[in-house]
């Protein structure tokens, strides 16, 4: 999927949770939103992008939310 599109969507999610005072909680909420609503392919793509790209265009809070909390669970096998 177009990475700029993913970055934009992730930042939009950040825009919502950013207004909460507890930034640690906001990061968890952002990550939880990504985990609950984004398909694993999309999360994997943004994780790869964050790992490879120095200047991601992601809001710092979103960036650390992804770095610290987003995982692609080992889903049930492809079988």
């Amino acid at each position: 999927m177009n990475i700029e599109h993913l970055v934009k969507m992730a930042n939009q999610i950040g825009d919502f949770f950013r207004s909460y005072p507890d930034h640690e909680q906001a990061k968890k909420d952002i990550a939880s939103h990504l985990t609950r609503f984004w398909a694993p392919q999309m999360r994997q793509q943004i994780l790869d992008y964050v790992a490879e790209t120095p200047d991601t265009g992601l809001h710092p809070l979103v960036l650390s939310a992804i770095r610290e909390y987003v995982k692609v669970k080992s889903a049930k096998s492809e079988a």
Binding site: M1, H5, M9, D15, F16, T35, A39, P40, K73, A75
Partner: protein
């Protein structure tokens, strides 16, 4: 055919006092305020009547219903006289018989005596009354002046007005006022010259009439008559079913002659509509038998190939083999499915089951993605349940009604009429809408405040209203303390109280005068029961979900939730938006809104379905399209939805569709999406299948089969056949067995079954052990999530910004006579009212650009351009233009972008930066579209030719 009982006058509204009286020697106890006529019918006694009918207030004009009351002088009209304790009423005496015969004689002397050939023969109250009063002779001849040569008005495509048969009872005039609220009809002239007229207009079609049919239903004679009855004769049996158009979910009696529908009559017992209807459900059902319908399956290798008609077995096995081949080659996640809110609950349930159990992934989505997905998200976060909180009837107890981003008189007409009734009784009205919708100012309805905000600034407005409520001490603190999370309230109230959220500070963004916002907020918070009704003008924004939460916040802060007259009411667009969401059509959740990662829920479904299920969310529609263009999403099963017309950025959608290896479309018609399909599975209309729809008030209503499916199978059977071919049999024998499974696996549906629906008529979920007859009002003692949660709603302007190149904002909407992509309504006479989509533009903007009414204008956005005819209108504000998307060739969605709601990816249909210019020819997209569409129609026609050979 059994007729619906007519009590002559509406039931009394008094609930706490009973009165006992005697009618013709029978003792009867009824509610105080009941008319003698109504009480008589309850006692099994019918009093002759003509001007009275129980959908209308009594009028007392025909004098046929006179009775004698012991101890009272004269002969009171039973329709206008209320019961009293101890009354002794006589309905049949020699004197009364005399009077009635005299009345009837006068009527009949000016009435054509062509009963045998009259279209109402067998269904005419005048005829019935002549019989009832024993009329045997008419002493006055036809020699005097009469109306027998009066002209017929056949301008309305669905009903005619034959003035020669009119008895001037004014039931039609009153129906148009009281039931519909349009006030299109008048009685012109006096005495002998009085006649029914369509206002000051020449005929019905040109008049204010919206063709709801209320007058036709109320007319006791053949004067106002459905043309289908004139053509086919009186029906002989009827079946109760549910309208397949909008989210009001009106109940109808399909009146039949064998397998032919003669007319659809709104059902008086319908919980959502109480006997009223709109032009779509009442009249626009002819598409079901339209010649464009495709009833034989078709396949083709490539979209450049002609279609080939095949047997069902062949089509299904080809579709299944393609899905298997693609999964083997591109992986389990390379296929998915989309359902529509036009499908029944049972159908959408089955498709998500097919995807999760047979496809082995969670790539299932539904068109609610592009309309009300933010409602699901926002209400779940705040109140704990993804659904509206009220019944429609609740509005009759509202003191303040706030309508945000919805146009009920066009989008939800029957509810719009009910709302207007309440407004005529004196409820206050606040409208927040960029455009002047009909409710702002109409006959006997005037909005107290029209907050004409700029598109895309809803959140700024609702937060500013909350600011007023909090800073002016208007919070219902007792409610908040007992019912809501106090921490979340404290943080939220601190946030909204900040000066930057005041109406004055927000005015720059919203364009709404601060004083109006303050006054509206005060009215909402202090004037009694306040209810919010909202539509896609709330959800289809980049902050759609935030706005839904903002609405819930306001309702909670002012204590306006959990009883009649208040609440948060999403007006769902299509008939089964609520149901398709309830049925687990979203990629991240099972039926009943339970997340796929929840181990206990998954275990439940794994046990029931006998397959391991994925614990990760699947792809949403826009994600499927993006991955199709990337090359990893290769096949789509699309039931009942037309994404190539309804979804934003058409060129992106068609690019994605043409990138797939197998597109399977199940539909009535070769729709826009089907032009990109490889397998076409014919679907059937709501008249040809059994199932249920769930309306905007969570009301589950039965859909009953009244004719054999023209394609051979009900839609759920087609899904089951596909599943079986994929190696996952679904051995249901009837749609009711699917509902039984839904009920077993979904706590809010535990008590629902077809049998129970038969008994109760309809059921509002939750329906289970705690609520055996359903739940009209939600969150009564506590919220579904326990305590209500306030969410902070920071206004974030959309990234779709106007600039010098795109200086105007385009916003899209719907009109009354057409429905969604128009595939159904365009194939009916409703085109008489809306033959094409047009773009509304403010006179100032038009003048700046040299545009005149009726000119062709090009509309260009960052996504594409199209051409439509301009309509100059002050309904829109300067800087904003407005169009509809009911016709594919008008390309409204060629212009809309893929900007979307942050939480749900619901597209921002309501805000697109554009420029308009005068043009002389269609846009390049339109020319290409025409060419492609002609080519596809030719490829379909080749199939006809092959069949002939």
């Amino acid at each position: 055919m059994d007729k619906q009982a007519d009590y002559g006058t509406p039931a009394s509204r008094v609930t706490d006092r009973q009165v006992t009286l005697e009618i013709d020697g029978k003792s009867i106890t009824v509610a105080a305020g009941t008319s003698i006529m109504h009480a008589a019918v309850e006692a099994g006694i019918s009093i002759p009547k003509l001007c009275a009918t129980d959908s209308l207030e009594p009028f007392g004009s025909c004098r046929l219903c006179l009775v004698e009351v012991e101890g009272r002088r004269g002969y009171p009209a039973s329709c206008t006289t209320p019961v009293d304790e101890g009354l002794k009423v006589h309905t049949q005496t020699p004197k009364l018989a005399d009077i009635r015969r005299g009345v009837m004689e006068l009527y009949i002397s000016d009435h054509p005596l062509d009963c045998l050939t009259c279209s109402a023969n067998g269904d005419c109250e005048l005829q019935d009354m002549a019989g009832a009063v024993g009329l045997r002779e008419v002493r006055y001849g036809y020699d005097g002046s009469n109306h027998l040569d009066a002209e017929k008005d056949v301008s309305n495509p669905y009903f005619q007005f034959d003035a020669s048969k009119c008895i001037v009872c004014s039931r039609c005039v009153r129906a148009c006022e009281e039931t519909q609220g349009t006030f299109a009809l008048t009685i012109s002239g006096r005495g002998f010259d009085s006649k029914v007229a369509a206002g000051n207009f020449d005929n019905f079609l040109e008049s204010e009439c919206v063709s709801c049919g209320a007058c036709v239903a109320a007319c006791p004679t053949a004067t106002l008559m459905e043309k289908t009855v004139i053509d086919h004769g009186q029906p002989e049996h009827s079946v109760i079913t549910t309208c397949a158009y909008c989210g009001v979910g009106c109940s109808f009696r399909a009146e039949m002659k064998g397998e032919q529908v003669v007319r659809m009559v709104p059902d008086k017992n319908g919980g959502a509509n109480h006997g009223h209807s709109c032009v779509k459900g009442r009249f626009a059902w002819g598409y079901a038998t339209h010649r464009d319908r495709i009833t034989t399956p078709m396949i083709r290798k490539s979209i450049k190939d002609p279609w080939q008609e095949v047997s069902w077995e062949e089509a299904i096995s080809y579709a299944a083999s393609e899905l298997k081949r693609i999964q083997a080659k591109h992986g389990r996640n390379s296929i998915g499915a989309i359902t529509s809110s036009r499908c029944t609950n049972e159908e959408t349930y089955l498709v998500q089951k097919l995807v999760r159990a047979a496809f082995g992934n969670n790539n299932v989505d539904t068109c609610a993605r592009v309309c009300h997905s933010p409602t699901g998200y926002g209400l779940k976060q705040t109140l704990g349940e993804s659904a509206g909180t009220q019944t429609f009837d609740s509005v009759m107890k509202s003191d303040v009604i706030m309508v945000i981003g919805a146009n009920p008189t066009d989008g939800h007409p029957v509810f719009g009429s009910q709302m207007k009734r309440r407004l005529r009784e004196g409820a206050k009205l606040i409208i927040a809408d960029p455009r002047e919708i009909d409710l702002v100012s109409g006959p006997h309805v005037q909005a107290d405040y029209h907050l004409k905000l700029r598109p895309g600034t809803n959140v700024a407005l609702i937060t500013a209203m909350a600011h007023v409520v909090v800073t002016e001490g208007l919070v219902d603190e007792e409610f908040v303390r007992s019912r809501c999370e106090w921490d979340s309230f404290e943080y939220w109230s601190e946030f909204v109280a900040q000066p930057e959220h005041s109406p004055e500070a927000m005015q720059a963004a919203t364009g709404v005068p601060a004083a109006d916002v303050r006054a509206a907020a005060r009215l909402f918070a202090t004037d009694g029961n306040a209810a919010i009704y909202y539509g896609l003008g709330v959800t289809e924004h980049s902050q759609g979900s935030t706005m839904v939460m903002g609405i819930a916040n306001l309702a909670m802060a002012t204590g306006n939730i959990g009883r009649e007259g208040v609440g948060v009411n999403p007006l769902r667009g299509q008939n089964n938006v609520q149901g398709s969401c309830d049925m687990g059509s979203f990629p991240h959740e099972f039926p009943g809104y339970r997340h796929v990662s929840d181990d206990a829920t998954r275990a439940l479904f794994e046990a029931a379905w006998g397959r391991p299920l994925d614990n990760e969310p699947g792809l949403r529609i826009p994600n499927m399209l993006d991955f199709a263009i990337d090359g990893s999403f290769k096949a789509l099963y699309c039931e009942g939805e037309d994404i190539a017309q309804s979804d934003p950025n058409t060129q992106h959608v068609t690019h994605a569709l043409s990138s797939m290896e197998c597109v399977i479309v199940q539909d009535l018609f070769l729709n826009e999406t089907a032009m990109y399909a490889h397998v076409f599975l014919p679907g059937c209309s709501f008249l040809e299948k059994s199932g249920t729809f769930t309306n905007a008030e969570r009301r589950i209503s039965p859909v009953r089969r009244v004719m054999t499916p023209k394609n051979g199978y009900e839609d759920w059977q087609v899904t089951a056949m596909l599943s079986e071919a994929l190696g996952y049999p679904m051995p249901y024998r009837h749609a009711s067995e699917i509902m039984d499974e839904i009920a077993r696996l979904t706590p809010t549906f535990h008590g629902v079954s077809f049998k129970r629906l038969e008994e109760l008529g309809s059921i509002q979920w939750p329906c289970n052990e705690q609520h055996p007859t359903g739940t009209p009002i939600m969150h009564v003692d506590e919220f579904v999530r326990g305590k209500g949660r306030f969410m902070v709603t920071e206004y974030v302007p959309t990234s779709e910004k106007v600039n010098a190149k795109y200086p105007l904002i385009l916003t899209t909407g719907r009109i009354l006579s057409q429905y969604n992509v128009g595939a159904q309504t365009r194939r009916t006479d409703n085109v008489a009212w809306h033959p094409e989509d047009q773009v509304e533009i403010h006179p100032h903007d038009a003048e700046d650009r040299g545009i005149q009414d009726g000119d062709w204008v090009g509309i260009t956005s960052r996504a594409g351009n199209t051409v439509q005819r301009a309509r100059i209108s002050e309904r829109v504000q300067p800087g904003v233009i407005y169009t509809t998307f009911h016709h594919p060739e008008s390309g409204a969605n060629v212009i809309t972008t893929d900007n979307s709601d942050w939480a749900t990816n619901c597209p921002e249909f309501k805000v697109t930066a554009v420029e308009v210019t005068r043009v002389t020819q269609l846009s390049e997209w339109q020319r290409n579209y025409q060419e492609f569409s002609d080519e596809q129609i030719a490829l379909a026609q080749q199939r006809d030719e092959a069949r002939v050979e």
